[in-house]
Subunit: 276 residues, 2 copies
C-alpha cells in the first residue's frame, strides 16, 4: 500500500552483476528505505562476472543462437555450477556484507534454498549453427513457475532483508539457471509488491539507443508490447519481466538508472521509464 | 531430548569439503534421520576446494607458521572472497541441491546471512618466517562469539534444514573466514544439541595415526585435553571443537567416519570416537 508519495511498503529491486553499477549508493539507498519502514527484496544477476571467472578457469562461455534468432549462453552442468559459485557465493555474499555494514539484516538466498524459486527445467536448446538447425542437450536453465512466499514473509516479518541469487530448482530437484530480471518479476508478482525497480546501466528504455536524451518516460499498462521494438539486448528481458510483473498484480515497474546516487529513491520518484 | 537409542531430537553435523567424503550417503542419511523426526543442522567446510579454485585463478594459497608453531592459511581479502565464493556458492549449493532431490527442504546460509554467526575478526597474524618473528596485516579470519539461535529456530520450526557455510561476520560487519569444526561446535552449543557429529576421512581419533586399528572409542567429558597429543593436523581443531561443544552443554560429540554408508546413523550408534 502506498503510504506517501514515492514510498511503498513492499519493494522488489533487481540489480545487475557488479559491472558499471554503483553497489555502494544502491546499498545505502536500500538501507535508507528500510530505515523508513519499507520492506525490500533484492534480486541480483551475475552473468558477466560468471563469464569472467569461467574464462579464467579455462571454461569460456559458449553462446548460441536460437532458431528464433535469440542469442543466449549455453548452460551445461559445469557452467551451471560456476554460475552458482559466482552468483550465490561471490556477488550474493558481498552484497550481504555491504548491507550488514549499513545496518540492514540481509539474508542471502538462492532459488534452491527452501525451494524459494521453483521452475521448469529446459534441458534442450534448439539452435542454429552454420545455417543448420541443431538440438543441444544438457542445458541447465529454466523458467520460474512458483515462488515460496511464506519463506519470504517469514524472513521479512522478522526484519530480515532477502537478497536473492538468480538460481531456481526444478520440480525434480535440479538446480537451474534463471534470468534475474524475470526472477525479480516473479518475486514481485508473488508478493504483490507495490513496485518493482529494474536497475541497469542506462537511464531506462531509450527510443533511440544509446541516445539517452530519447528516454521513454512512461508506458501504459496495456502498451508494453508496442514498445518491445525499442528494446535492445538485455532490455528485452527487462520489458518482458516488467510485463509479467504488471500482469501478476504489481503496482508499477520502473526501469531505473543504477549508476546514479540514490538510484532507488530516484526511480520511485519517477526517474526512469515508469510502466503503470 | 533422546527419545530412543541412537536417536536425538536435535543434531548438528559437520562434514568436510567434498574430497574423500561420500556426499551421497551422507545426504541420504540426513534425509533418513529427518524423515524420522529429527532436526538437523549441517555445517560444512571447503578449505581444500578453495585451494584448488584459487590455484586455478592464479592466486595459490599462502601458508604461514604462527609463533606457536601452528600452520594456517593467510586469508587476505582476495582469499576471503574466493573462500566465500567456493564455500557459500559452490559446496553449499551442491549440498542444498542434493538434499532437495532427496526431499529435504534445505536452506543454505553462511554466517553473514542474518548475522547467523558473529565473531571477532583477527586482522593480524604473528608468524615466524626464515627464523624471524613477523606481524602480517590484512588477515580476514576470526572466532565465533555469538550464534543467531532465533533465526535457526525460525527455519527449523517451519521444517527447513539449515546448511551452513563456514563464514562469519564481525561486530563491525566484515565478512570473515572461520573454522568449520568450531563453527559446528558453536552452533551445537547455542542450540543445546543432543549430539554433534564431526565427520572426516578417518574412523575417529587414532592413538597411533594413521593406524586405524588404534581407534580411541571413548573419551570422558573431563579427559579431552589429555588426548590432544594424539591429534594430528585437522584433528586438533576437531578435538578443540568437541571440547567447546561439551563445555557449551552439548550431550555428546562423536568423531565419526565420513567415508562409510549411513555415516551419521553409525556415528549416533557409537561408531567412532565418542566424547561424553
Amino acid at each position: 500500500m502506498a503510504d506517501r508519495e514515492g514510498c511503498v511498503a513492499m519493494l522488489v529491486v533487481k540489480i545487475g552483476g557488479v559491472e558499471g553499477l554503483g553497489i555502494e549508493p544502491l546499498c545505502a539507498d536500500v538501507a535508507h528505505l528500510i530505515r523508513n519502514g519499507q520492506q525490500v527484496v533484492l534480486v541480483h544477476g551475475g552473468s558477466h562476472q560468471t563469464n569472467v571467472i569461467s574464462e579464467k578457469l579455462g571454461k569460456p562461455p559458449r553462446f548460441v543462437t536460437s532458431v528464433s534468432g535469440h542469442v543466449s549462453r549455453y548452460t551445461d552442468r559445469e557452467t551451471l555450477e560456476m554460475f552458482a559459485m559466482v552468483t550465490a557465493g561471490q556477488i550474493n555474499k558481498l552484497l550481504v556484507e555491504r548491507l550488514q555494514r549499513l545496518g540492514v539484516n540481509a539474508v542471502g538466498l538462492s532459488g534452491p534454498d527452501g525451494r524459494l524459486l521453483v521452475g521448469q527445467r529446459k534441458s534442450t536448446l534448439k539452435i542454429m549453427e552454420n545455417g543448420k538447425r541443431k538440438v543441444l542437450h544438457g542445458e541447465w536453465s529454466g523458467v520460474i513457475e512458483r515462488v515460496n512466499v511464506p519463506l519470504l514473509r517469514l524472513l521479512l516479518d522478522q526484519g530480515y532483508t532477502p537478497v536473492v541469487a538468480p538460481l531456481a530448482i526444478s520440480h525434480g530437484g535440479e538446480m537451474i539457471n534463471v534470468d534475474g530480471d524475470r526472477a525479480a518479476a516473479a518475486v514481485a508478482a508473488a508478493l504483490r509488491a507495490e513496485a518493482l525497480v529494474l536497475l541497469s546501466n542506462v537511464p531506462g528504455l531509450l527510443r533511440d539507443f544509446p541516445d539517452e536524451s530519447t528516454l521513454i518516460h512512461r508506458i501504459g499498462r496495456g502498451e508494453v508490447k508496442a514498445y518491445l521494438p525499442y528494446a535492445q539486448g538485455r532490455m528485452k528481458k527487462k520489458l518482458l519481466g516488467a510485463s509479467e510483473a504488471l500482469e501478476g498484480g504489481v503496482g508499477r515497474v520502473i526501469l531505473g538508472d543504477g549508476r546514479i546516487e540514490a538510484p532507488l529513491s530516484q526511480a520511485l520518484a519517477g526517474r526512469g521509464t515508469v510502466l503503470q
